[in-house]
Protein backbone atom coordinates (compact mmCIF):
# COMPACT_ATOMS: atom_id res chain seq x y z
CA UNK A 1 0.00 0.00 0.00
CA UNK A 2 1.40 3.40 -1.00
CA UNK A 3 1.41 6.55 1.03
CA UNK A 4 -1.85 7.53 -0.60
CA UNK A 5 -3.45 4.28 0.48
CA UNK A 6 -2.33 4.73 4.10
CA UNK A 7 -3.58 8.26 4.05
CA UNK A 8 -7.03 7.05 3.00
CA UNK A 9 -6.97 4.42 5.73
CA UNK A 10 -5.97 7.09 8.22
CA UNK A 11 -8.78 9.39 7.16
CA UNK A 12 -11.24 6.50 7.28
CA UNK A 13 -10.19 5.60 10.83
CA UNK A 14 -10.45 9.22 11.89
CA UNK A 15 -13.86 9.61 10.30
CA UNK A 16 -14.99 6.32 11.79
CA UNK A 17 -13.80 7.40 15.23
CA UNK A 18 -15.64 10.69 14.96
CA UNK A 19 -18.79 8.91 13.87
CA UNK A 20 -18.47 6.41 16.72
CA UNK A 21 -18.09 9.31 19.13
CA UNK A 22 -21.25 10.89 17.77
CA UNK A 23 -23.16 7.62 17.87
CA UNK A 24 -22.00 6.49 21.29
CA UNK A 25 -23.72 9.44 22.97
CA UNK A 26 -26.93 7.44 23.45
CA UNK A 27 -26.09 3.76 23.83
CA UNK A 28 -28.27 0.80 24.69
CA UNK A 29 -31.44 2.28 23.21
CA UNK A 30 -32.95 0.96 19.97
CA UNK A 31 -31.48 2.99 17.11
CA UNK A 32 -33.76 3.86 14.24
CA UNK A 33 -33.10 5.87 11.09
CA UNK A 34 -35.85 7.74 9.28
CA UNK A 35 -35.32 8.85 5.70
CA UNK A 36 -38.09 11.29 4.80
CA UNK A 37 -38.75 12.44 1.22
CA UNK A 38 -39.06 16.17 1.97
CA UNK A 39 -39.70 18.67 4.74
CA UNK A 40 -41.11 21.40 2.52
CA UNK A 41 -44.62 20.01 2.61
CA UNK A 42 -46.43 20.23 6.01
CA UNK A 43 -47.66 16.67 5.49
CA UNK A 44 -44.16 15.19 5.64
CA UNK A 45 -43.18 17.58 8.38
CA UNK A 46 -46.01 16.18 10.50
CA UNK A 47 -44.86 12.65 9.64
CA UNK A 48 -41.31 13.43 10.80
CA UNK A 49 -42.72 15.03 13.95
CA UNK A 50 -44.66 11.82 14.64
CA UNK A 51 -41.48 9.76 14.25
CA UNK A 52 -39.46 12.13 16.44
CA UNK A 53 -42.05 12.42 19.21
CA UNK A 54 -42.80 8.70 19.41
CA UNK A 55 -39.11 7.78 19.37
CA UNK A 56 -38.55 10.21 22.22
CA UNK A 57 -41.50 8.80 24.14
CA UNK A 58 -40.11 5.28 23.67
CA UNK A 59 -36.59 6.30 24.67
CA UNK A 60 -35.27 5.34 21.24
CA UNK A 61 -32.42 6.99 19.40
CA UNK A 62 -33.55 8.43 16.08
CA UNK A 63 -31.70 9.91 13.11
CA UNK A 64 -33.94 11.82 10.67
CA UNK A 65 -32.52 12.53 7.22
CA UNK A 66 -34.30 14.72 4.67
CA UNK A 67 -33.92 13.59 1.04
CA UNK A 68 -35.09 17.00 -0.26
CA UNK A 69 -37.24 15.15 -2.82
CA UNK A 70 -34.16 13.78 -4.57
CA UNK A 71 -33.79 10.05 -5.07
CA UNK A 72 -29.98 10.30 -5.26
CA UNK A 73 -29.83 12.00 -1.88
CA UNK A 74 -32.23 9.46 -0.39
CA UNK A 75 -30.09 6.55 -1.60
CA UNK A 76 -27.00 8.17 -0.06
CA UNK A 77 -28.96 8.85 3.16
CA UNK A 78 -30.05 5.20 3.45
CA UNK A 79 -26.49 4.04 2.73
CA UNK A 80 -25.33 6.25 5.59
CA UNK A 81 -27.95 4.67 7.86
CA UNK A 82 -26.75 1.20 6.87
CA UNK A 83 -23.17 2.22 7.66
CA UNK A 84 -24.37 3.60 10.95
CA UNK A 85 -25.83 0.14 11.70
CA UNK A 86 -29.21 1.38 12.89
CA UNK A 87 -31.55 -1.34 14.13
CA UNK A 88 -34.48 -0.46 11.85
CA UNK A 89 -34.76 1.83 8.83
CA UNK A 90 -38.01 3.71 8.41
CA UNK A 91 -38.41 5.34 5.02
CA UNK A 92 -40.89 7.62 3.34
CA UNK A 93 -39.60 7.05 -0.18
CA UNK A 94 -39.29 9.72 -2.85
CA UNK A 95 -39.47 7.21 -5.65
CA UNK A 96 -39.74 3.48 -6.52
CA UNK A 97 -36.04 3.70 -7.37
CA UNK A 98 -35.26 3.43 -3.65
CA UNK A 99 -35.93 -0.34 -3.89
CA UNK A 100 -32.31 -1.34 -4.56
CA UNK A 101 -30.86 0.47 -1.56
CA UNK A 102 -33.64 -0.85 0.70
CA UNK A 103 -32.74 -4.39 -0.37
CA UNK A 104 -29.14 -3.57 0.51
CA UNK A 105 -30.37 -2.70 4.00
CA UNK A 106 -32.30 -5.97 4.21
CA UNK A 107 -29.16 -7.86 3.14
CA UNK A 108 -27.26 -6.10 5.92
CA UNK A 109 -29.86 -7.51 8.30
CA UNK A 110 -31.66 -4.21 8.88
CA UNK A 111 -35.48 -4.51 8.71
CA UNK A 112 -37.27 -1.81 6.67
CA UNK A 113 -40.57 -0.05 7.41
CA UNK A 114 -42.05 2.05 4.58
CA UNK A 115 -44.34 4.98 5.37
CA UNK A 116 -47.09 6.28 3.09
CA UNK A 117 -45.31 5.41 -0.14
CA UNK A 118 -44.92 1.67 -0.82
CA UNK A 119 -41.78 0.67 -2.72
CA UNK A 120 -42.49 -2.21 -5.12
CA UNK A 121 -39.61 -4.68 -5.41
CA UNK A 122 -38.16 -3.87 -2.01
CA UNK A 123 -38.03 -6.39 0.84
CA UNK A 124 -40.11 -4.56 3.42
CA UNK A 125 -41.16 -5.84 6.84
CA UNK A 126 -44.05 -3.41 7.33
CA UNK A 127 -45.84 -0.76 5.26
CA UNK A 128 -48.01 1.89 6.87
CA UNK A 129 -49.97 4.53 5.03
CA UNK A 130 -53.17 5.68 3.48
CA UNK A 131 -54.19 4.48 0.03
CA UNK A 132 -54.44 7.34 -2.43
CA UNK A 133 -56.66 5.40 -4.83
CA UNK A 134 -59.15 4.90 -1.99
CA UNK A 135 -58.88 8.60 -1.01
CA UNK A 136 -59.51 9.69 -4.60
CA UNK A 137 -62.52 7.40 -4.84
CA UNK A 138 -64.05 8.40 -1.49
CA UNK A 139 -63.40 12.11 -2.12
CA UNK A 140 -65.07 11.97 -5.53
CA UNK A 141 -68.02 10.09 -4.03
CA UNK A 142 -68.38 12.84 -1.43
CA UNK A 143 -68.40 15.56 -4.10
CA UNK A 144 -70.88 13.69 -6.31
CA UNK A 145 -73.23 13.19 -3.36
CA UNK A 146 -72.84 16.80 -2.17
CA UNK A 147 -73.99 17.93 -5.61
CA UNK A 148 -76.93 15.51 -5.56
CA UNK A 149 -75.39 13.66 -8.49
CA UNK A 150 -75.68 16.63 -10.82
CA UNK A 151 -73.38 19.51 -11.73
CA UNK A 152 -70.22 20.82 -13.36
CA UNK A 153 -67.01 19.77 -11.60
CA UNK A 154 -63.45 21.07 -11.95
CA UNK A 155 -60.76 18.56 -10.97
CA UNK A 156 -57.46 20.06 -9.79
CA UNK A 157 -54.68 17.49 -10.04
CA UNK A 158 -51.30 17.58 -8.30
CA UNK A 159 -47.87 17.36 -9.89
CA UNK A 160 -48.24 15.50 -13.20
CA UNK A 161 -46.81 12.02 -12.79
CA UNK A 162 -46.49 12.18 -8.99
CA UNK A 163 -47.74 8.88 -7.58
CA UNK A 164 -50.14 10.49 -5.07
CA UNK A 165 -51.72 12.62 -7.79
CA UNK A 166 -52.01 9.82 -10.33
CA UNK A 167 -53.51 7.45 -7.73
CA UNK A 168 -56.06 10.03 -6.60
CA UNK A 169 -56.90 10.65 -10.25
CA UNK A 170 -57.35 6.92 -10.80
CA UNK A 171 -59.63 6.56 -7.77
CA UNK A 172 -61.77 9.56 -8.70
CA UNK A 173 -61.99 8.51 -12.35
CA UNK A 174 -63.72 5.30 -11.19
CA UNK A 175 -66.49 7.38 -9.62
CA UNK A 176 -67.53 9.96 -12.22
CA UNK A 177 -69.04 7.48 -14.75
CA UNK A 178 -71.44 6.29 -12.05
CA UNK A 179 -73.05 9.76 -12.00
CA UNK A 180 -74.25 10.69 -15.50
CA UNK A 181 -75.39 14.09 -14.20
CA UNK A 182 -71.83 15.05 -13.23
CA UNK A 183 -69.80 16.73 -15.93
CA UNK A 184 -66.04 17.23 -15.56
CA UNK A 185 -65.71 20.62 -17.28
CA UNK A 186 -61.99 20.95 -16.65
CA UNK A 187 -59.28 18.69 -15.27
CA UNK A 188 -56.03 20.61 -14.83
CA UNK A 189 -52.88 20.47 -12.72
CA UNK A 190 -52.25 22.98 -9.93
CA UNK A 191 -48.95 21.24 -9.14
CA UNK A 192 -49.96 20.96 -5.45
CA UNK A 193 -49.03 24.68 -5.17
CA UNK A 194 -51.31 27.45 -3.94
CA UNK A 195 -49.88 30.09 -6.27
CA UNK A 196 -50.08 27.85 -9.32
CA UNK A 197 -53.62 26.74 -8.49
CA UNK A 198 -54.69 30.39 -8.17
CA UNK A 199 -53.68 31.09 -11.78
CA UNK A 200 -55.11 27.84 -13.13
CA UNK A 201 -58.45 28.43 -11.39
CA UNK A 202 -58.63 32.01 -12.66
CA UNK A 203 -58.17 30.72 -16.19
CA UNK A 204 -60.81 28.03 -15.75
CA UNK A 205 -63.24 30.62 -14.35
CA UNK A 206 -62.71 32.56 -17.57
CA UNK A 207 -63.57 29.51 -19.65
CA UNK A 208 -66.45 28.01 -17.64
CA UNK A 209 -69.58 30.05 -16.99
CA UNK A 210 -71.08 27.37 -14.73
CA UNK A 211 -69.02 25.61 -12.07
CA UNK A 212 -70.61 23.78 -9.13
CA UNK A 213 -67.62 22.15 -7.45
CA UNK A 214 -63.82 22.21 -7.47
CA UNK A 215 -62.29 18.91 -6.39
CA UNK A 216 -58.64 19.51 -5.43
CA UNK A 217 -56.06 16.82 -4.69
CA UNK A 218 -54.59 18.84 -1.82
CA UNK A 219 -55.42 21.76 0.48
CA UNK A 220 -52.80 24.13 -0.90
CA UNK A 221 -54.56 24.04 -4.27
CA UNK A 222 -57.98 24.27 -2.65
CA UNK A 223 -56.87 27.49 -0.90
CA UNK A 224 -55.52 28.82 -4.21
CA UNK A 225 -58.77 27.95 -5.99
CA UNK A 226 -60.69 29.61 -3.15
CA UNK A 227 -58.72 32.84 -3.60
CA UNK A 228 -59.54 32.80 -7.33
CA UNK A 229 -63.24 32.12 -6.78
CA UNK A 230 -63.49 34.82 -4.09
CA UNK A 231 -61.81 37.37 -6.37
CA UNK A 232 -64.20 36.47 -9.20
CA UNK A 233 -67.16 37.16 -6.86
CA UNK A 234 -68.80 33.95 -8.05
CA UNK A 235 -70.78 32.06 -5.44
CA UNK A 236 -72.27 28.62 -4.92
CA UNK A 237 -69.06 26.79 -5.84
CA UNK A 238 -68.18 23.93 -3.46
CA UNK A 239 -64.40 23.68 -3.12
CA UNK A 240 -62.86 20.62 -1.50
CA UNK A 241 -59.30 19.84 -0.48
CA UNK A 242 -57.27 16.99 0.98
CA UNK A 243 -54.71 16.82 3.85
CA UNK A 244 -56.62 18.98 6.39
CA UNK A 245 -53.90 21.59 6.83
CA UNK A 246 -54.48 24.16 9.54
CA UNK A 247 -55.70 27.03 7.36
CA UNK A 248 -57.83 24.69 5.25
CA UNK A 249 -59.55 23.46 8.41
CA UNK A 250 -60.20 27.05 9.38
CA UNK A 251 -61.59 27.76 5.92
CA UNK A 252 -63.94 24.79 6.37
CA UNK A 253 -65.07 26.21 9.72
CA UNK A 254 -65.70 29.60 8.05
CA UNK A 255 -67.74 27.78 5.39
CA UNK A 256 -65.40 28.78 2.57
CA UNK A 257 -64.20 25.28 1.82
CA UNK A 258 -66.88 22.57 1.69
CA UNK A 259 -64.68 19.72 2.85
CA UNK A 260 -61.15 18.52 3.39
CA UNK A 261 -59.86 15.03 4.02
CA UNK A 262 -57.69 14.48 7.08
CA UNK A 263 -54.85 12.09 6.49
CA UNK A 264 -52.99 11.06 9.59
CA UNK A 265 -49.32 11.80 8.75
CA UNK A 266 -48.43 12.30 12.41
CA UNK A 267 -49.95 8.96 13.37
CA UNK A 268 -48.34 7.27 10.37
CA UNK A 269 -44.98 8.47 11.72
CA UNK A 270 -45.84 7.30 15.25
CA UNK A 271 -47.00 3.91 14.02
CA UNK A 272 -43.76 3.54 12.04
CA UNK A 273 -41.75 3.88 15.25
CA UNK A 274 -44.10 1.53 17.08
CA UNK A 275 -43.69 -1.12 14.38
CA UNK A 276 -39.91 -0.62 14.46
CA UNK A 277 -40.00 -1.36 18.16
CA UNK A 278 -42.18 -4.43 17.76
CA UNK A 279 -39.81 -5.73 15.08
CA UNK A 280 -36.90 -5.51 17.51
CA UNK A 281 -38.59 -6.57 20.75
CA UNK A 282 -40.98 -9.06 19.09
CA UNK A 283 -43.57 -8.11 21.74
CA UNK A 284 -46.28 -8.03 19.07
CA UNK A 285 -46.58 -9.47 15.58
CA UNK A 286 -46.07 -6.77 12.95
CA UNK A 287 -48.69 -6.61 10.18
CA UNK A 288 -47.06 -6.43 6.74
CA UNK A 289 -49.50 -3.78 5.49
CA UNK A 290 -51.49 -1.24 7.50
CA UNK A 291 -53.96 1.06 5.72
CA UNK A 292 -54.72 4.08 7.89
CA UNK A 293 -58.27 5.44 7.80
CA UNK A 294 -58.98 8.98 6.62
CA UNK A 295 -61.49 11.42 8.03
CA UNK A 296 -63.78 13.86 6.21
CA UNK A 297 -63.69 17.33 7.79
CA UNK A 298 -66.83 19.34 7.13
CA UNK A 299 -68.51 22.22 8.87
Amino acid sequence: MGIRGWRIVGIAILAGGLLALLVSSGQAAIKIGFSVSTQVNPFYKAMADGVRDEAKAQGMEVTILNAEDKLEKQIADVEDLIQKKVDVIIINATHDGAAAVLNKAAEAGIPVVTLQRAVPGAKVTSHIGTDNVVIGREGAEWVAKALGGKGNVVVMEGIPGAASSEDRKKGSAEVWPKYPGIKIVAQQSGKYDRAVALGVMENILQAQPQIDAVFCFNDEMAMGALAAVKASKRTGIKITGMDANKDAREAVTRGELAMTIALPPYNIGKNGVLHARWIKTKEQPVPPRTVMAVEFITK
Binding site: V40, K45, P160, A195
Partner: protein, 332 residues
Protein backbone atom coordinates in the same frame (compact mmCIF):
# COMPACT_ATOMS: atom_id res chain seq x y z
CA UNK B 1 -35.03 49.25 -41.10
CA UNK B 2 -37.35 46.31 -41.61
CA UNK B 3 -34.53 43.94 -40.70
CA UNK B 4 -33.84 45.90 -37.57
CA UNK B 5 -37.54 45.77 -36.78
CA UNK B 6 -37.50 42.00 -37.24
CA UNK B 7 -34.48 41.67 -34.99
CA UNK B 8 -35.99 43.74 -32.24
CA UNK B 9 -39.56 42.58 -32.58
CA UNK B 10 -39.11 38.92 -33.59
CA UNK B 11 -40.38 37.73 -30.22
CA UNK B 12 -43.38 40.07 -30.45
CA UNK B 13 -44.25 38.37 -33.74
CA UNK B 14 -44.13 35.05 -31.85
CA UNK B 15 -46.44 36.41 -29.16
CA UNK B 16 -48.94 37.67 -31.75
CA UNK B 17 -48.88 34.35 -33.62
CA UNK B 18 -49.53 32.35 -30.45
CA UNK B 19 -52.23 34.85 -29.47
CA UNK B 20 -53.88 34.54 -32.87
CA UNK B 21 -53.78 30.73 -32.66
CA UNK B 22 -55.36 30.79 -29.17
CA UNK B 23 -58.08 33.19 -30.32
CA UNK B 24 -59.03 30.70 -33.03
CA UNK B 25 -58.89 27.71 -30.67
CA UNK B 26 -60.86 29.24 -27.78
CA UNK B 27 -63.62 31.84 -28.00
CA UNK B 28 -62.89 32.77 -24.37
CA UNK B 29 -59.32 33.84 -25.03
CA UNK B 30 -59.77 37.23 -26.68
CA UNK B 31 -62.11 38.79 -24.13
CA UNK B 32 -61.34 41.87 -22.05
CA UNK B 33 -61.79 40.01 -18.79
CA UNK B 34 -59.47 37.21 -19.88
CA UNK B 35 -56.78 39.59 -21.14
CA UNK B 36 -56.84 41.46 -17.83
CA UNK B 37 -56.73 38.07 -16.11
CA UNK B 38 -53.64 37.06 -18.13
CA UNK B 39 -51.88 40.36 -17.47
CA UNK B 40 -52.54 40.02 -13.74
CA UNK B 41 -51.09 36.49 -13.77
CA UNK B 42 -48.08 37.61 -15.81
CA UNK B 43 -47.34 40.46 -13.42
CA UNK B 44 -45.48 38.36 -10.84
CA UNK B 45 -43.24 36.66 -13.40
CA UNK B 46 -42.67 39.93 -15.28
CA UNK B 47 -41.55 41.74 -12.11
CA UNK B 48 -39.11 38.93 -11.29
CA UNK B 49 -37.98 38.70 -14.92
CA UNK B 50 -37.22 42.43 -15.08
CA UNK B 51 -34.66 41.93 -12.32
CA UNK B 52 -33.44 38.73 -13.94
CA UNK B 53 -32.85 40.60 -17.21
CA UNK B 54 -30.61 43.12 -15.48
CA UNK B 55 -28.65 40.31 -13.81
CA UNK B 56 -28.33 38.31 -17.04
CA UNK B 57 -27.13 41.34 -19.02
CA UNK B 58 -24.06 41.41 -16.75
CA UNK B 59 -23.45 37.77 -17.69
CA UNK B 60 -24.84 36.54 -14.36
CA UNK B 61 -27.86 34.48 -13.38
CA UNK B 62 -30.03 34.37 -10.28
CA UNK B 63 -31.50 30.99 -9.37
CA UNK B 64 -32.47 32.13 -5.88
CA UNK B 65 -35.42 34.35 -6.84
CA UNK B 66 -38.05 31.61 -6.35
CA UNK B 67 -36.92 31.09 -2.77
CA UNK B 68 -36.62 34.84 -2.24
CA UNK B 69 -40.26 35.27 -3.29
CA UNK B 70 -41.26 32.87 -0.52
CA UNK B 71 -38.93 34.37 2.10
CA UNK B 72 -39.98 37.96 1.40
CA UNK B 73 -43.70 37.13 1.59
CA UNK B 74 -43.34 35.15 4.81
CA UNK B 75 -41.08 37.70 6.50
CA UNK B 76 -43.33 40.59 5.46
CA UNK B 77 -46.45 38.99 6.93
CA UNK B 78 -44.66 37.88 10.10
CA UNK B 79 -43.43 41.44 10.71
CA UNK B 80 -46.72 43.00 9.59
CA UNK B 81 -48.76 41.06 12.16
CA UNK B 82 -47.38 42.84 15.24
CA UNK B 83 -45.94 46.07 13.76
CA UNK B 84 -48.17 46.93 10.85
CA UNK B 85 -48.32 46.40 7.13
CA UNK B 86 -46.10 49.21 5.90
CA UNK B 87 -43.20 48.18 8.13
CA UNK B 88 -43.79 44.55 7.24
CA UNK B 89 -43.76 45.15 3.50
CA UNK B 90 -40.64 47.30 3.79
CA UNK B 91 -38.95 44.58 5.84
CA UNK B 92 -39.85 41.97 3.23
CA UNK B 93 -38.34 43.95 0.39
CA UNK B 94 -35.25 44.89 2.41
CA UNK B 95 -34.69 41.26 3.35
CA UNK B 96 -35.00 40.26 -0.33
CA UNK B 97 -32.54 42.99 -1.28
CA UNK B 98 -30.28 41.62 1.45
CA UNK B 99 -30.39 38.19 -0.20
CA UNK B 100 -29.43 39.97 -3.42
CA UNK B 101 -26.57 41.71 -1.64
CA UNK B 102 -25.33 38.34 -0.37
CA UNK B 103 -25.47 36.95 -3.93
CA UNK B 104 -23.67 39.99 -5.33
CA UNK B 105 -21.01 39.96 -2.62
CA UNK B 106 -20.27 36.27 -3.18
CA UNK B 107 -20.05 36.80 -6.94
CA UNK B 108 -18.08 40.07 -6.83
CA UNK B 109 -15.81 39.64 -3.82
CA UNK B 110 -15.83 35.87 -3.36
CA UNK B 111 -15.38 35.19 -7.09
CA UNK B 112 -17.90 32.34 -6.85
CA UNK B 113 -19.60 31.80 -10.24
CA UNK B 114 -23.16 33.23 -10.23
CA UNK B 115 -24.73 29.87 -11.07
CA UNK B 116 -23.13 28.21 -8.04
CA UNK B 117 -23.66 31.18 -5.72
CA UNK B 118 -27.35 31.43 -6.43
CA UNK B 119 -27.86 27.66 -6.54
CA UNK B 120 -26.54 27.64 -2.99
CA UNK B 121 -28.52 30.66 -1.79
CA UNK B 122 -31.62 29.15 -3.43
CA UNK B 123 -31.56 26.32 -0.88
CA UNK B 124 -30.31 28.47 2.00
CA UNK B 125 -33.10 31.01 1.50
CA UNK B 126 -35.73 28.26 1.12
CA UNK B 127 -34.46 26.80 4.37
CA UNK B 128 -34.61 30.21 6.03
CA UNK B 129 -38.24 30.62 4.94
CA UNK B 130 -39.10 27.20 6.39
CA UNK B 131 -37.29 27.93 9.65
CA UNK B 132 -38.94 31.35 9.93
CA UNK B 133 -42.45 29.93 9.47
CA UNK B 134 -41.85 26.49 10.96
CA UNK B 135 -43.04 25.18 7.60
CA UNK B 136 -46.59 26.53 8.00
CA UNK B 137 -48.37 29.08 5.81
CA UNK B 138 -48.67 32.57 7.33
CA UNK B 139 -52.27 33.65 6.94
CA UNK B 140 -53.29 37.31 7.09
CA UNK B 141 -56.70 37.98 5.66
CA UNK B 142 -56.89 41.65 6.61
CA UNK B 143 -54.75 44.72 6.26
CA UNK B 144 -53.65 47.39 3.86
CA UNK B 145 -51.15 45.08 2.19
CA UNK B 146 -53.95 43.22 0.42
CA UNK B 147 -54.18 46.30 -1.80
CA UNK B 148 -51.03 45.10 -3.59
CA UNK B 149 -52.77 41.99 -4.85
CA UNK B 150 -56.51 42.40 -4.71
CA UNK B 151 -57.35 46.05 -5.41
CA UNK B 152 -58.00 47.75 -8.74
CA UNK B 153 -57.49 51.29 -9.92
CA UNK B 154 -60.40 51.80 -12.26
CA UNK B 155 -60.64 48.59 -14.25
CA UNK B 156 -56.91 47.80 -13.89
CA UNK B 157 -55.81 45.46 -11.07
CA UNK B 158 -52.94 46.82 -8.93
CA UNK B 159 -50.52 43.94 -9.78
CA UNK B 160 -50.70 45.04 -13.43
CA UNK B 161 -49.92 48.65 -12.47
CA UNK B 162 -46.97 47.48 -10.37
CA UNK B 163 -45.75 45.40 -13.31
CA UNK B 164 -46.01 48.34 -15.72
CA UNK B 165 -44.22 50.65 -13.29
CA UNK B 166 -41.46 48.08 -12.73
CA UNK B 167 -40.96 47.47 -16.44
CA UNK B 168 -40.88 51.17 -17.32
CA UNK B 169 -38.54 51.83 -14.41
CA UNK B 170 -36.19 49.01 -15.38
CA UNK B 171 -36.21 50.08 -19.03
CA UNK B 172 -35.43 53.68 -18.04
CA UNK B 173 -32.69 52.51 -15.69
CA UNK B 174 -30.99 50.36 -18.33
CA UNK B 175 -31.30 52.73 -21.28
CA UNK B 176 -31.18 56.20 -19.75
CA UNK B 177 -28.81 56.08 -16.81
CA UNK B 178 -25.06 55.81 -16.44
CA UNK B 179 -25.58 52.65 -14.37
CA UNK B 180 -27.44 51.01 -17.22
CA UNK B 181 -24.58 51.76 -19.58
CA UNK B 182 -22.11 50.26 -17.12
CA UNK B 183 -24.28 47.14 -16.77
CA UNK B 184 -24.16 46.48 -20.52
CA UNK B 185 -20.44 47.23 -20.52
CA UNK B 186 -19.71 44.74 -17.73
CA UNK B 187 -21.69 42.03 -19.55
CA UNK B 188 -20.10 42.82 -22.90
CA UNK B 189 -16.51 42.71 -21.70
CA UNK B 190 -15.89 42.75 -17.98
CA UNK B 191 -12.14 43.31 -18.33
CA UNK B 192 -12.56 46.25 -20.70
CA UNK B 193 -15.20 47.73 -18.42
CA UNK B 194 -12.89 47.41 -15.42
CA UNK B 195 -10.00 49.02 -17.28
CA UNK B 196 -12.23 51.90 -18.28
CA UNK B 197 -12.79 52.65 -14.62
CA UNK B 198 -16.10 50.98 -13.91
CA UNK B 199 -16.32 49.33 -10.49
CA UNK B 200 -17.00 45.70 -11.43
CA UNK B 201 -17.88 44.69 -7.88
CA UNK B 202 -20.17 47.71 -7.50
CA UNK B 203 -22.14 46.86 -10.63
CA UNK B 204 -22.37 43.16 -9.79
CA UNK B 205 -23.66 43.85 -6.29
CA UNK B 206 -26.08 46.45 -7.64
CA UNK B 207 -27.70 44.06 -10.14
CA UNK B 208 -28.20 41.25 -7.62
CA UNK B 209 -29.64 43.69 -5.07
CA UNK B 210 -32.09 44.93 -7.71
CA UNK B 211 -32.92 41.36 -8.72
CA UNK B 212 -33.50 40.40 -5.10
CA UNK B 213 -35.61 43.46 -4.31
CA UNK B 214 -37.84 42.87 -7.34
CA UNK B 215 -38.25 39.21 -6.36
CA UNK B 216 -39.25 40.55 -2.94
CA UNK B 217 -41.86 42.84 -4.50
CA UNK B 218 -43.21 39.87 -6.48
CA UNK B 219 -43.35 37.90 -3.23
CA UNK B 220 -45.46 40.62 -1.61
CA UNK B 221 -47.84 40.76 -4.57
CA UNK B 222 -48.19 36.97 -4.49
CA UNK B 223 -48.86 36.98 -0.74
CA UNK B 224 -51.43 39.75 -1.18
CA UNK B 225 -53.16 37.82 -3.95
CA UNK B 226 -53.42 34.71 -1.72
CA UNK B 227 -54.05 36.56 1.58
CA UNK B 228 -51.22 34.41 2.92
CA UNK B 229 -47.58 33.54 2.43
CA UNK B 230 -46.24 30.01 1.95
CA UNK B 231 -42.65 29.09 2.71
CA UNK B 232 -42.82 26.46 -0.04
CA UNK B 233 -44.16 28.66 -2.82
CA UNK B 234 -42.19 29.99 -5.77
CA UNK B 235 -40.46 26.68 -6.51
CA UNK B 236 -39.37 26.81 -10.16
CA UNK B 237 -40.34 30.49 -10.57
CA UNK B 238 -36.70 31.27 -11.41
CA UNK B 239 -37.06 29.05 -14.46
CA UNK B 240 -40.15 30.90 -15.68
CA UNK B 241 -38.29 34.18 -15.23
CA UNK B 242 -35.22 32.93 -17.08
CA UNK B 243 -37.46 31.55 -19.84
CA UNK B 244 -39.13 34.97 -20.20
CA UNK B 245 -35.72 36.67 -20.44
CA UNK B 246 -34.41 34.21 -23.02
CA UNK B 247 -37.64 34.29 -25.05
CA UNK B 248 -37.22 38.06 -25.13
CA UNK B 249 -33.94 37.69 -26.96
CA UNK B 250 -31.56 38.43 -24.09
CA UNK B 251 -28.31 36.49 -24.43
CA UNK B 252 -27.31 34.31 -21.48
CA UNK B 253 -23.74 35.27 -22.34
CA UNK B 254 -24.45 38.81 -21.21
CA UNK B 255 -23.90 42.20 -22.82
CA UNK B 256 -27.24 42.46 -24.57
CA UNK B 257 -30.91 42.32 -23.81
CA UNK B 258 -33.96 44.49 -23.34
CA UNK B 259 -36.76 44.85 -20.82
CA UNK B 260 -39.14 45.16 -23.74
CA UNK B 261 -38.11 41.70 -24.99
CA UNK B 262 -38.50 40.21 -21.51
CA UNK B 263 -42.00 41.70 -21.27
CA UNK B 264 -42.96 39.93 -24.48
CA UNK B 265 -41.34 36.73 -23.23
CA UNK B 266 -43.29 36.84 -19.97
CA UNK B 267 -46.53 37.32 -21.90
CA UNK B 268 -45.73 34.37 -24.20
CA UNK B 269 -45.42 32.11 -21.14
CA UNK B 270 -48.52 33.67 -19.59
CA UNK B 271 -50.82 33.20 -22.57
CA UNK B 272 -49.55 29.65 -23.07
CA UNK B 273 -50.54 28.69 -19.51
CA UNK B 274 -53.83 30.53 -19.91
CA UNK B 275 -54.58 28.87 -23.26
CA UNK B 276 -53.85 25.39 -21.92
CA UNK B 277 -56.29 25.93 -19.05
CA UNK B 278 -58.97 27.48 -21.25
CA UNK B 279 -58.80 24.57 -23.66
CA UNK B 280 -58.43 21.99 -20.87
CA UNK B 281 -55.28 20.46 -22.35
CA UNK B 282 -54.11 17.39 -20.42
CA UNK B 283 -51.35 18.34 -17.92
CA UNK B 284 -49.02 15.73 -19.48
CA UNK B 285 -49.29 17.28 -22.95
CA UNK B 286 -48.94 20.78 -21.47
CA UNK B 287 -45.40 19.99 -20.38
CA UNK B 288 -44.46 18.88 -23.89
CA UNK B 289 -46.24 21.76 -25.61
CA UNK B 290 -44.77 24.43 -23.31
CA UNK B 291 -41.20 23.25 -23.84
CA UNK B 292 -41.72 22.87 -27.58
CA UNK B 293 -43.17 26.36 -28.00
CA UNK B 294 -40.28 27.91 -26.01
CA UNK B 295 -37.66 26.16 -28.14
CA UNK B 296 -39.56 27.08 -31.31
CA UNK B 297 -39.81 30.74 -30.29
CA UNK B 298 -36.09 30.97 -29.54
CA UNK B 299 -35.25 29.16 -32.81
CA UNK B 300 -37.35 31.61 -34.83
CA UNK B 301 -35.74 34.50 -32.97
CA UNK B 302 -32.24 33.14 -33.72
CA UNK B 303 -33.01 32.71 -37.42
CA UNK B 304 -34.49 36.18 -37.66
CA UNK B 305 -31.52 37.67 -35.82
CA UNK B 306 -29.01 35.81 -38.02
CA UNK B 307 -30.81 37.13 -41.10
CA UNK B 308 -30.85 40.65 -39.72
CA UNK B 309 -27.17 40.48 -38.77
CA UNK B 310 -25.99 39.27 -42.19
CA UNK B 311 -28.18 41.90 -43.87
CA UNK B 312 -26.73 44.58 -41.63
CA UNK B 313 -23.22 43.39 -42.43
CA UNK B 314 -23.92 43.92 -46.11
CA UNK B 315 -25.64 47.24 -45.55
CA UNK B 316 -23.07 48.71 -43.23
CA UNK B 317 -21.44 48.13 -39.88
CA UNK B 318 -23.78 46.79 -37.22
CA UNK B 319 -22.95 47.71 -33.68
CA UNK B 320 -23.93 45.50 -30.83
CA UNK B 321 -25.36 47.38 -27.86
CA UNK B 322 -22.46 46.05 -25.76
CA UNK B 323 -19.89 47.66 -28.01
CA UNK B 324 -21.75 50.92 -27.95
CA UNK B 325 -22.04 50.70 -24.22
CA UNK B 326 -18.38 49.89 -23.73
CA UNK B 327 -17.37 52.80 -25.90
CA UNK B 328 -19.68 55.34 -24.39
CA UNK B 329 -18.51 54.41 -20.93
CA UNK B 330 -14.86 55.11 -21.69
CA UNK B 331 -13.49 58.05 -19.74
CA UNK B 332 -13.68 61.16 -21.81
Amino acid sequence: MSRRLLRDYGSLLGLLLIGAALSLLSDRFLTTSNLINVARQVSINAIVAAGMTIVIITGGIDLSVGSTIALAGCAALLVARPVGDVVGMTAGILLAAGVGFLNGALVAWGRVPPFITTLATMTVVRGAALVLTNGEPIVKTEGAYLWLGQASVGPIPVPILLMVATLIGAHWFLSRTRWGTYIYAVGGNAEAARLSGISLAGIQILVYVLGGALAGLAGLVLAARLSSAQPNTGVGFELDAIAAVVLGGTSLMGGEGTIWGTTVGAFIIGILNNGFNLMNVSPFYQLIAKGAVIVLAVLVDQIVKAGAASGAARGGPARAPAEQAAESSLPR
